[in-house]
Symmetry: C2
Subunit: 357 residues, 2 copies
Amino acid sequence: MRQLDPRVVEKRKRRLLQWVIHSYIKSSKPIASQDISEEAGLGLSSASIRNLLKELEDEGFLQQPHTSAGRIPTDKGYRFYVDYVTRLQRLAAEEKARIESEYASRVAEMDNILSQTSRLLSHVSHSAGLVLSPKMEKQHLKRLELIPLGGKQVLAVLVTQAGLVRHWPINLSFAPTASRVNMLNRFLNDHIQGKSIQEVQQSVEARIEQASREIQELGDLAGRLLKEMADFAQPAELYLDGTTNILAHPEEIGDPREMQSLIRVIEEKQALAEVLQRIVEESPEKGPRAMVRIGGETRRTELKNLSLVAATYRLNGEVIGVLGILGTKRMEYSRMMSLVSHVSEIVSRSLEHWSEE
Amino acid sequence: MRQLDPRVVEKRKRRLLQWVIHSYIKSSKPIASQDISEEAGLGLSSASIRNLLKELEDEGFLQQPHTSAGRIPTDKGYRFYVDYVTRLQRLAAEEKARIESEYASRVAEMDNILSQTSRLLSHVSHSAGLVLSPKMEKQHLKRLELIPLGGKQVLAVLVTQAGLVRHWPINLSFAPTASRVNMLNRFLNDHIQGKSIQEVQQSVEARIEQASREIQELGDLAGRLLKEMADFAQPAELYLDGTTNILAHPEEIGDPREMQSLIRVIEEKQALAEVLQRIVEESPEKGPRAMVRIGGETRRTELKNLSLVAATYRLNGEVIGVLGILGTKRMEYSRMMSLVSHVSEIVSRSLEHWSEE
DNA sequence: TACTAGCACTCACATATTTAGAGTGCTAAT
DNA sequence: ATTAGCACTCTAAATATGTGAGTGCTAGTA
């Protein structure tokens, strides 16, 4: 037999690797050379397959749980697999319908969309669903209103252009009259419109100086308001649902000690939020294409047994947050990537819709 | 030896049962007659203890996992134990301090208090923490304000006397002027103050009839507002945190199939919310005394492996919600009861504080 | 009558021992 | 370049064996 083109050989190896990982994801059992020979349709005997598997193992794509077991993917293997999964899986019609209807029914404000989205993702994926809200401080303000609650109390309500709403109570040292509050509202809204919180903090402070010469208490209140606003604006919120889905299959988690570590990951949203925040910041504006972080790729050992599928969502073309799912490494990447990017698309659209109107 | 007073005998039996259950909770191992004889200080030999244990088993308080094992409590046993635990355990000083500081630092609105509380309960108890919010429809209104967002959008913000805040967006068919919105705000607030949502729905509708003759669109808006308000007001919200704590110890959960059922419980907040809602409704006004539901006592088979420790919280003397923890049956009831009733007390106090000011 | 010592018995659990077979790596043949 | 064939390794399941924990019961004692 004459020598084969090396490119053909390489291509075959890739197909093999694909097939192995795909089967492993479906069956959760190590894949043996014989199965491949019989089912993969490569037209090679198990012995030849074994040779190829050996090579793939040496190259770090596969590994054996023990000497006489089939192969399972390494992180590098999964990575290869994911990078070559170009054809995203079509979502089942019913799932698609469900997703659409979820958003069609109630295009409420952003907060609702985000928390609903995280729940939705978790249900459809049977993994944990997560959504990182936009950072408040980067948001541009639409409206800041004080609502008098009687007595010395007022409620501050802040609405951003994206449709995020935050509210917090303020106890004053005096009982403001309705007209005072009105005046302050007008003053504030005249000056904050379209600015970010950071900007407001600076630009308004100067104006207050000036205004407070006229009306003493008004200045006090406004100053205080701004200070608390800053306090409040800090964290990007992480909506996380369905974490128990990850723990649902103890057999997936070899070591029971792993369990503990998984739980720690989940309970400490902080760390997760940071990983996600980094994604937002590093993300190019390009599209809703889902990205995948496999096991240790996040550099966080806590996540070494999990994979993250995430996509950013945008408002006015700008990336403002990220959403996705978190599950075991042995997940249906193709389907999850479809799901996540589809949802991110819808969320972006909903937000545009909201902020235009 | 002359015959013993039967009352003395009974008392001793109770003490024995207490001791057994207490030790089991601490050690998580079935309790043997010998251990009791040596450590419980009853001054009886293991043989005598065995006789007593037999009786207690016949009476349904204890059971054996298998023939030659020690005893563990039945639900009935736990019930007995809990009913006789009158002396609540003092919380550790540091925990107490932590709890206090948590509330001292930020007496924000009710929504915040509730979600923070559920997190707190979960952390301190190492179980799931839960808080059922008051039913919106029963709440009395303090304020209902429309905030114009520019264009045809307004944001409705509703504040109840208890300090619950809800907000939702409304898309109008026309762009309202600032003065129109002002007018409507005044109109609404004049008529809703102190009424419950249910009442408002009825009493205001009549007034709108009248008012809308004067200003057409105003009536439209108000009507729409009230309708959406009703939609919105339906569910009592359930804050649930730290559910993974329950799953943290797989060894506690004998059967891995149990795991699945546990997860289902947790994911379906609905069922849990109903159980809690019933507690609110059946609860007498009396005090913050913690109540305990052991295993199947809730009549819900999903909960048969868990116990619930809960206490109601009040506003102006009226029971408006419930909070507590959910964990395995083998929990430190005494400590949990202290914790829950203490927290319920603080929450009630915080709410009073808020609504007075 | 109230309690206890003592013993036979049961059963889970831990520890070997065996067996079966799954799957490999290598070699020799094509 | 590929494959048949075989020796080898290692797991997982099945079986055997021993040990000790803990009981129930009986007969005996204060």
